[in-house]
């Protein structure tokens, strides 16, 4: 029952960062470590927010940062499954205009497949 749990799943299409719990002042460093390990390694990144109940300003900044860094490497960050309140928060700060927000990890993968074109 940690405040925040992060774990990475490597799928063929993307690395998926599953975050569970709360990103706040105390746990933002953990979230940062997890993101830093992923962005810039050449793969697409999906952040699975479906079990994230809280995200504060420090966490939002990290999402902005991850998106910038990924774009700089020609990759994307996609956000999957934020709760209604986190979705509203993403809108408030305008992150919804910069990164794709989808319902599920599966949908995020569909998006990436579509973008890469059929094989």
């Amino acid at each position: 029952m940690d405040i925040l749990e992060c774990h990475v799943e490597e799928l063929p299409e993307a690395d998926v960062l599953h975050v569970r719990g709360e990103v706040d002042l105390g746990t933002a460093p953990l979230f940062q470590d997890a993101l830093e390990g992923l962005v810039g390694n050449g793969r697409q990144v999906i952040v699975d927010m479906s079990e994230l109940r809280y995200l504060d300003g420090s966490g939002l900044r990290l999402l902005f940062w991850a998106r910038e860094r990924s774009v700089a490497h020609g990759r994307q960050v996609l956000l999957a499954g934020p709760s209604p309140v986190l979705r509203r928060l993403l809108q408030i700060v305008g992150l919804d205009e910069l990164v794709p927000i989808v319902e599920t990890v599966a949908e995020a993968i569909e998006r990436l497949r579509g973008k890469n074109g059929p094989i």
Partner: protein, 137 residues
Amino acid sequence: MWKLSVHLTTALPELRAVRHLVAFACRNEGGTDIESGLIEISFGEALANARLHAHASGTGQIMVDIAYDRPAMTVSVYNDGSPLLDRSAIPDARPEEESRGWGLYVIGRAMDEVEIQRSPHSDRGTLIRMTKNFALV
């Protein structure tokens, strides 16, 4: 109509406990998940600021008021220490990615009313008071 005053320190577990209590109080009074969640996030930002400034001032003490007057939930956060802020510190537009002001920007967008003043409890403290009206459909 009720009002509770909560005294706590800047320790993270205490900030989390009071933040969770506020979120619960919102839902308990009929706030939607979105209303309650936005109040929790705004309150959390104010606590984070208060922590920083209370800590810098050496007291490590924060005071919080939680007040409900149907349909308005009002949360206030007080801390000692300078610098003082006022209402004009709330940005109208989203701050640049690396600049300050994000916390107050979110608060300004998420809450219905925000007031910032010199703390009534100390001559060098800050008080931020924020209200959100529940739709209570």
